[in-house]
């Protein structure tokens, strides 16, 4: 138990420093950190715990560790605080486990693996290309489904939040498949579609953004409402531009997962508001003609192509 207590202490200290903006080398966002919806707790992580508890009314499976904590009667305030932190860590672990992420999320499943390192290299290139540390909104798209855009968005988000002080928002703008929401089990509740249909302000964004079991990683799910006029028309609304502006004020990196550009125009619509586009290309599976066609389309729309992320290499 001694090592667990030490770990809890270090985690608490780190969280306090982050809240106080003590992290050096990272520009704090201009907007205050969004408070997670229905999160009475002080920290986002605790808020996520509450959020998870609210979303999933089923009792969390008790582990021996949590059972031991819960059975501790009449603890002192400091000890109570430590106990809450411990519960939070345990709950985070359990939440991640409950997500049952696929093996493709290599940054989570195999942190020291080759693929996680490749995502970190990509992350490093993105950071090096942004020496001013300005908030960035990047649109991730692909030529065809199945090229790994959603998985890459999640992996890049996870690798970005490994950097201290970076707050990352993942927006599931694929209103057709909602792959990212499905991946993180956030199909229910408010999301992007509801947000765009209403008035977008900080409060609305804060109410729609959801925390994840990973620190500083937030998700704006696709939402449950089907747009009557089509997803592209919905994304063309001024609310989308306002949403991205709000998101840039609250987060350091905004990664937007969009449907395939060769199939839907959504990526092009959002790319016009973003800081750049990243085209995910499956090396072996995507046809050359399709890639060329997508690139020509992006070029014709004068969209800022930041680069291509080549997946499925080395098969």
């Amino acid at each position: 138990m001694g090592s667990i207590s030490d770990a809890l202490k270090r985690a608490e200290q780190e969280r306090r420093r982050m809240h106080a903006g003590e992290v050096q080398g990272v520009a704090p966002p201009t907007q205050p950190l969004p408070a997670p919806p229905a999160a009475p707790a002080e920290s986002p992580r605790l808020a996520s715990v509450v959020l998870k508890a609210a979303e999933k009314p089923k009792p969390t499976p008790t582990t021996p560790l949590t059972a031991a904590i819960q059975q501790t009667p009449q603890v002192a305030p400091a000890a109570k605080r430590q106990q809450e932190i411990a519960e939070t860590i345990v709950e985070d672990y359990a939440s991640k486990q409950r997500l049952n992420l696929p093996a493709g999320v290599a940054v989570y499943h195999d942190r020291t693996g080759r693929i996680a390192e490749q995502y970190r290299k990509t992350r490093q290139r993105l950071l090096e290309a942004n020496p001013q540390r300005e908030p960035q909104a990047l649109v991730f798209t692909a030529s065809a489904p199945g090229e790994g855009a959603t998985t890459s968005v999640l992996n890049l988000g996870l690798s970005l939040v490994e950097q201290r002080g970076l707050r990352v928002l993942l927006i599931d703008a694929d209103l057709h498949a909602a792959g990212l929401s499905r991946l993180l089990r956030m199909r229910d509740g408010l999301g992007l579609s509801e947000l765009l249909l209403g008035e977008v302000d900080q409060a609305a964004l804060t109410s729609a953004v959801r925390a994840t079991p990973w620190h500083n990683l937030y998700v704006l799910p696709a939402g449950g409402t089907s747009p009557p006029q089509g997803s592209a028309e919905l994304l063309k609304l001024p609310a989308a531009r306002a949403l991205l502006r709000q998101a840039r004020g609250m987060f350091n990196w905004v990664l937007i997962d969009t449907p395939p550009a060769g199939k839907y125009p959504d990526a092009g619509v959002l790319g016009a508001f973003s800081d750049g586009m990243v085209l995910t290309v499956s090396l072996r599976h995507t046809g050359r003609e399709l890639v060329h066609k997508t690139l020509r389309r992006l070029e014709a729309m004068s969209l800022p192509l930041r680069g291509c992320l080549l997946t499925h290499a080395g098969e």
Binding site: A103, R125, G276, L279, S282, R306, C308, L310
Partner: protein, 530 residues
């Protein structure tokens, strides 16, 4: 919104790989495709090769040994063998497979005698050996029959030819003798030859007459010149010693002859080769010899011959003697001319008579020449017919003792002549390799995606933000690992085993049947005296 992020250019300049590198990389990537197609296609062709129509070949050799005069018998066997081949081919054509069955007979001469080699090839192994067996039997049977029949026929023909040649020779001789009796003038020297000789003699006499006439004219001129000269007064001195008259005459003749020669050479500009000069030189040599003999005789104190006139004791005795010599020589020349002219006239008459006689005998001579040529041809034909008859007589007596040894069979293993396993293997492997390379090319050519980030960049010129390997689940990882460590080696082994097995089956399939049959027939043929 700010766009402060600079455009990312990560990939360096990429050049398209060269053609040989493309093939190298393609083979590295798709070697299993190559091996698979190679194994499958080659195996199929190896197995299919066993179904190709085959040709089996068997050879047999037996010796024909002879005691004496084997050469003539062997010569006949060559003729008999050729006739037998034609007969066998006719028989085989009647058997129903004239194109597929082939039998060849070759007769060669070795030190031990004649060797007959038979080679048979058919699409069926058993049929091949049976065909060869039948061929050997029929050959030996036909050889014996043909040796007797053919030799007898040839000998009879030669005898008939010899009889005809003898009759012709006799007829030619009789005709020639009859003609000789009828034309006895043709038996001696031919008139034409005599005419030719007579003409040559007449020409020689005519030439001599010309020389004598010229000599006479010169001598007459010399004589006239000598008579016109005055002799010089002799100087006072001791009394002249009486000289030998023959020596004196000869010296005078020689001096006269020397003057004539000098005149011919210096005044008339004649050469030594002129006939008159040659004649003078001959006379000069004769006089010199006579002078030497007379001088020797006078030195010995012997008297001169009686026909020599004594030298007159006059002051101009030298000139007189010279004149005497000249007159003597002139008299001889006149005498020779007088004898030549009638002879020439006689020769002309005789030549004219001979010419007429030759013209009258020309047809008879031509017929006589034809009869002589006919007789010569008849003699030569008779000699040739007699030589052939004698040779055939010898062959008839020498061909009978020929013996045939037991045939030795060769090339009777179970492998067909065609197709061979090496040929099928080479063809199958070549086609398999070509198919494999074609498969690699198609796999490389028809691949939809990109093979590498470099190729992607070279193709699109788009910046590459990052490269992520294929993500697999643990189960997929295990499956891929199992494929790499177990499945792929096993697949390679299976393909190689398939190839080797097909080769083994193909090899065995080419010689699967008939081996025992051939061995059994070999045992039945071995040691059989034909």
């Amino acid at each position: 919104m700010t766009a402060a992020i600079s455009t990312i250019h990560i990939s360096p300049e990429v050049a398209e790989p060269r053609q040989e590198h493309r093939w190298h990389r393609a083979l590295q990537r798709h070697w299993l495709v190559l091996l698979t197609l190679l194994s499958l296609v080659s195996s199929g062709l190896l197995l299919a090769g066993t179904a190709l129509p085959r040709r089996y070949g068997v050879g047999a050799t037996f010796a024909l040994t002879a005691r004496d005069g084997a050469d003539e018998g062997a010569e006949l066997l060559g003729t008999a063998g050729a006739a037998l081949v034609a007969e066998l081919r006719t028989a085989l054509r009647a058997g129903g497979s004239p194109l597929a069955d082939r039998v060849e007979i070759q007769v060669s001469t070795r030190e031990q005698g004649r060797h007959v080699t038979l080679t048979a090839s058919t699409p069926e192994r058993d049929r091949t050996l049976a065909l060869l067996h039948e061929t050997v039997l029929r050959y030996t049977r036909a050889r014996n029959a043909q040796t007797d029949d053919l030799l007898t026929a040839l000998r009879n023909a030669a005898a008939r030819a010899l009889t005809l040649a003898s009759a012709e020779r006799r007829a030619a001789g009789d005709a020639l003798d009859t003609f000789r009796i009828a034309h006895p003038e043709l038996t001696g020297e031919a008139p034409a030859a005599r005419l030719e000789k007579l003409s040559a003699t007449a020409e020689e006499r005519q030439r001599r007459l010309g020389i004598v006439n010229e000599l006479i004219s010169r001598l007459e001129q010399h004589k006239a010149r000598m008579r016109g000269e005055r002799p010089a007064a002799p100087k006072p001195g001791p009394a002249a010693v009486p000289l030998d008259p023959e020596v004196m005459q000869l010296k005078a003749q020689l001096a006269l002859l020397n003057e004539q020669i000098d005149e011919q050479l210096n005044q008339l500009r004649r050469t030594e080769q002129h006939p008159y000069v040659v004649d003078l030189r001959v006379r000069q040599e004769g006089l010199q010899r006579k002078l030497a003999a007379a001088t020797a005789r006078a030195a010995a104190g012997k008297p001169p011959p009686e026909d020599v006139k004594p030298v007159p004791a006059e002051k101009d005795s030298g000139t007189t003697m010279a004149l005497q010599a000249l007159e003597l020589q002139l008299a001889q020349a006149y005498a020779e001319r007088d004898s030549l002219e009638p002879e020439i006239q006689r020769l002309k008459v005789e030549r004219e008579a001979l010419r007429k006689q030759a013209e009258a005998l020309a047809p008879a001579q031509q017929q006589f020449a034809r009869l002589e040529a006919r007789q010569r041809q008849a003699v030569q034909a008779h000699e040739a017919a007699r030589a052939r008859y004698e040779r055939l007589e010898n062959a008839y007596s020498a061909a009978r003792p020929l013996e045939i040894s037991a045939p030795v069979f060769s090339g009777q293993d179970a492998r067909p002549l065609a197709p061979t396993f090496a040929g099928i293997s080479a063809g199958a492997l070549s086609v398999g390799l070509l198919c494999g390379l074609a498969g690699v090319y198609l796999a490389e050519r028809l691949g939809r995606g990109y093979r590498s980030p470099r190729e992607f960049h070279a193709s699109t010129n788009a910046p590459v933000l990052g490269v992520v390997s294929a993500i697999h689940t643990p189960a997929q990882h295990q499956l891929r690992r199992a494929w790499r460590q177990i499945g792929r080696p096993l697949a390679v082994l299976a393909l190689l085993a398939l190839l080797a097995g097909s080769a083994a089956l193909g090899y065995a399939g080419l010689g699967r049947t008939g081996g025992e049959t051939i061995r059994g027939m070999k045992g039945s043929m071995h040691g059989q005296h034909l």
